[in-house]
Amino acid sequence: MSLLQVRDLKTYFYTDAGVVRAVDGVSYDLKEGETLGLVGESGCGKSVSALSILRLIANPPGKIVGGEIFFEGKDLLKISEKEIRNIRGNHIAMIFQEPMTSLNPVLTIGLQIGEALELHRNMNKKEAREEILRLLRMVGIPDPERRIGDYPHQFSGGMRQRVMIAMALSCNPKLLIADEPTTAVDVTIQAQLLEVVKELTSRLGTAVMLITHNLGVVARHVNRMAVMYAGRIIEQGPAAEVYAHPWHPYTIGLLASVPRLDKPRKERLVPIDGQPPNLILLPPGCSFMPRCSYRMEICSKERPELRPVGDGHFTACWANMER
């Protein structure tokens, strides 16, 4: 059975300018211990869909207007506020792009990790301290006995993100949601962090949802991936399959537009034309249609639903690509 099943999730934001359909009918599954990559550009709804799982959408202006989210068989959208609080951090943990905003600047990191332990795992002070030291060592923070009493600002960006990972994993969650965890750090640090996450979660059997705009990050670290555009999943499948045989013109375009170090240098990049979609004024039919070079008549009229195009590989596109 799947650990997490998201069915037809819809999260809208009601703004002065109109209704922003940030997530508009998204469905996906995540098995235990699996790593799913959720890829897309800013504003495609990837973060909102993840925040919706923990019901962390600020209301107003946001609202989850439809769908179901089953976690270990329970619909997270139906349970009480108290129950969801118990799920947060304890069963589903989250790490964010900017660790500084999710750490309290006036508390030592020891206290902050300890809080979760005392809250969810009923440890006493001494046990908690031992556990904190173990966690800090685990995520590779040197000299944890000394650093346990340090404040967040005394850590570098990469080290803060390690603290966040330690905090997230402190309660042995079943699922770790990592929202652009390496976007704010440099490439060399990014490589370190992703290795830490990969190593620890595979050891602890934690399922991971890795949200990113970086196609390279996904390639190395996920089993399956879903590509989002304008609030919907437009392609999903096993990572190797999607990279080798991308089907949706958007995925094809994204992969073709980034220069690659392992390939000979191209004289010219092939960009995707046009501008990112305006979520308030989406065209009828396929949202990608205005930028698509394969568009047909039907694309402007009817919205394509996900359909199978290979083993576990789905796409929401009317076109029949030549393989």
Binding site: A219, P259, P271
Partner: protein, 325 residues
């Protein structure tokens, strides 16, 4: 040196003092953001400048344009040293050198229309006004791929990519010969980045521009640059022609950087060996003795902890600052 050189910087340093007290300021430390940098840029070429955040690449770009006056060193633009030039004089030089900023949201005045933004350099440096100015604005917008009917719009009515095009139009307005591109695509969506890269390349050909292209993305830098300089903690550690650098990087830092770049292909990634560097970038306030990179270097030896390596030319056009290269 050959006269096809547009810009040459010699021993350029920028130290930011950390002070205490307000009236009688006492210097308690220095941040060596740029520390004795030498390089040159030829006419019509793109020099890529890569490095991680805090390595001083942005400060170096600002010093080059004299937006920050460097602590010491020389910046020759067409043979004239800008560092000793008076501010008034510099203002007219600014017509020849421009900058494109990283953040297309922050670099455009939100209270000015697209037309006013693009017109500003023309108002400052030329006497073009009225109808001629409007025609010029329309032409500039067209050059960067924007519809001239957008002249009256405000920045927040544009998307990120369009805003960056506006920033480029502004830089281009007074026909500079040199442009510092300070991470011009890192704030943009992936699907838009290639558009802007192609535009920059087209403009270079059309207007005979010379670029200093500052970035942290090594794959983009390889695509756009003719030569590449790698910076670490205020110093240039390696400079070479693009192909030489990406084929046979000599400095261990460059090699590690290249190996850390993720490649969007699971099959390639699975067989790839990564060099994961130990530790983090040291604080530029308390630099390690010897080579700046030695605390993280996978191949460091004893001499690295004592002596600062100088930038040596080990092959024609390939300079490296490493004792072991």
């Amino acid at each position: 040196m050959a006269n096809d050189i547009l810009i040459e910087i010699k021993n350029l340093s920028m130290y930011f003092p950390i002070t205490k007290g307000i009236i009688r300021q006492q210097k308690i430390a220095e941040v060596k953001a740029v520390d004795g940098v030498n390089f040159f840029i030829r006419k019509g070429e793109t020099l890529g400048l890569v490095g991680e955040s805090g390595c001083g690449k942005t400060t170096l770009g600002r010093c080059l344009l004299q937006l920050i006056r460097p602590t010491s060193g020389e910046v020759y633009f067409e043979g004239v040293d800008l560092c000793t030039m008076a501010s008034d004089h510099l203002r007219s030089i600014r017509q020849r050198m421009q900058i494109i900023f990283q953040d297309p949201f922050d670099s455009l005045d939100p209270r000015m229309t697209a037309g006013e933004i693009v017109a500003e350099p023309l108002r400052v440096h030329t006497r073009i006004r009225g109808r001629e100015l409007r025609e010029k604005i329309a032409e500039l917008l067209k050059i960067v791929g924007l519809d001239p009917s957008m002249t009256e719009r405000y920045p927040h009515q544009f998307s990120g990519g369009q805003r960056q095009r506006l920033g480029i139009a502004r830089a281009l307005a007074i026909r500079p010969s040199f442009i510092v591109c300070d991470e011009p695509i890192s704030a943009l969506d992936v699907s838009i980045q290639a558009q802007i890269i192609n535009l920059l390349e087209d403009l270079q050909g059309e207007f005979d521009l010379t670029y200093l292209f500052i970035a942290h993305d090594l794959s983009v830098v390889r695509h756009i640059s003719h030569r590449v300089a790698v910076m670490y903690l205020g110093k240039i550690v390696e400079v070479a022609n693009r192909d030489a650098l990406y084929r046979v990087a000599k400095h261990p830092y460059t090699i590690a950087l290249l190996s850390a770049v993720p490649i969007p292909d699971p099959i390639v990634e699975a067989s790839r060996e990564r060099i994961i560097l130990r530790g983090e970038i040291p604080s530029p306030i308390a630099l390690p003795p010897g080579c700046n990179f030695h605390p993280r270097c996978p191949i460091g030896v004893e001499i690295c902890q004592k002596e600062i390596p100088s930038l040596r030319e080990i092959e024609e056009g390939h300079w490296v600052a490493c004792h072991l290269a």
